[in-house]
Symmetry: C2
Amino acid sequence: MNSGSDAPQARRRLPPAARTPQILRAALEEFAERGYAGARMAAVASRAGIAKGLIYHYFSSKEALFQATVRACTQPLFEEAERHLAGHAGPARELLGALMRMGYARISADRQERILFRLIITEAERFPDLARFYREEMLARATGIARAVLRAGVAAGEFRPEVADMPGLAEVVLAPVLMASVWRMILGEGDAPAPEAMREAHLDLLLHGLEAPRAPR
Amino acid sequence: MNSGSDAPQARRRLPPAARTPQILRAALEEFAERGYAGARMAAVASRAGIAKGLIYHYFSSKEALFQATVRACTQPLFEEAERHLAGHAGPARELLGALMRMGYARISADRQERILFRLIITEAERFPDLARFYREEMLARATGIARAVLRAGVAAGEFRPEVADMPGLAEVVLAPVLMASVWRMILGEGDAPAPEAMREAHLDLLLHGLEAPRAPR
DNA sequence: CTGCTTATTGACCATCCGGTCAGTAACTCC
DNA sequence: GGAGTTACTGACCGGATGGTCAATAAGCAG
């Protein structure tokens, strides 16, 4: 099914640097489809086009494979947003709009990211390492970006001064994007609230809610 | 473990009307802790203080037990909010504040509700019935409440007229409450963003973002 | 080509788990 | 108290699954 392009047909020796990501990709698919408990090591092997035993040559157990899988996916997640943030010069409200478009677009396009999020939601309680990883490497990074935008807006006089360091505000600003993703996981593409509508409403609410009164237009 | 109060010590015959909720409660605990695939029927039986076979006297399979478990929990979920909505007379912004306090308080207090939500997130893709149930009985009800508040505010001249029927806005308004719940599931009580801070920031953002401008821009 | 290293295999094991069933006893009705 | 109903038990089964290991062969150095 998945193995059209990269599955070896016969026994084919590969250096670990090539085999490892192949296994991790297969594992992400399997964990995503079945959850941790439901995933079968034999199915991971089959998706990767290798024998089950080989997985244990690279990962000591199912749990080790799971942790490695989650970690391997978060690398490129925030890079784009952070690049955007660093390179932006214009008004904060445009930056906000651009980041919002990026966030909601990702929710629509990137199924792997939703899947990853669901895995974290599902398994964090059982794997404290995973919860810590989410908190430090994902949530903190995301709220950091939101806070930076808020502060930039205040510094430029676009936003009300109070919003610069209001506790909980970054999380509130972020939440609808994430919930759009969650709803799409639960209900599927057809029945979930439309991300574009949410994005427009979200942006409208934020701009009216954050903006300093009598904003120059 | 859980069976301090209602677990029978020896064979004790109970009418189905008493046994069924006992099994459902045990099942909720087990499903919540392990997910669908990870839950063991023997553990459900043990939590309920009965033999495994008895479960199959009441439910035909693991899946039937799961569906019944989810359905049994949603009854009282929205009743309070809807009662509040129907009985309110004052300004919409006070109604909004009251509903917000209620929502965030529930997230803090009611662990079962968070658990239920996670079960839905986790398993909806595999059980289309469950997704439909969530859409119709939970999300639609919740957005309905939010929309009613928005319309009431517009009707009273408190909110900008555009917000009465802006597509996606009800979902955006709702999202932070739900994300507060999700974060609490993932990170636990200690490390999740504080619901009180989120509530205050959320309310502040909403009131500024929804309110009709007093002075023309 | 020869021999060494190690990536790779697939049969195998022990265990666990959903589901069954034949038997048992608690409760009810007469 | 006797008979009938049915809630209840727990041993058991078949299949699935995480994990092991000895054999195998691909690639490489000489």
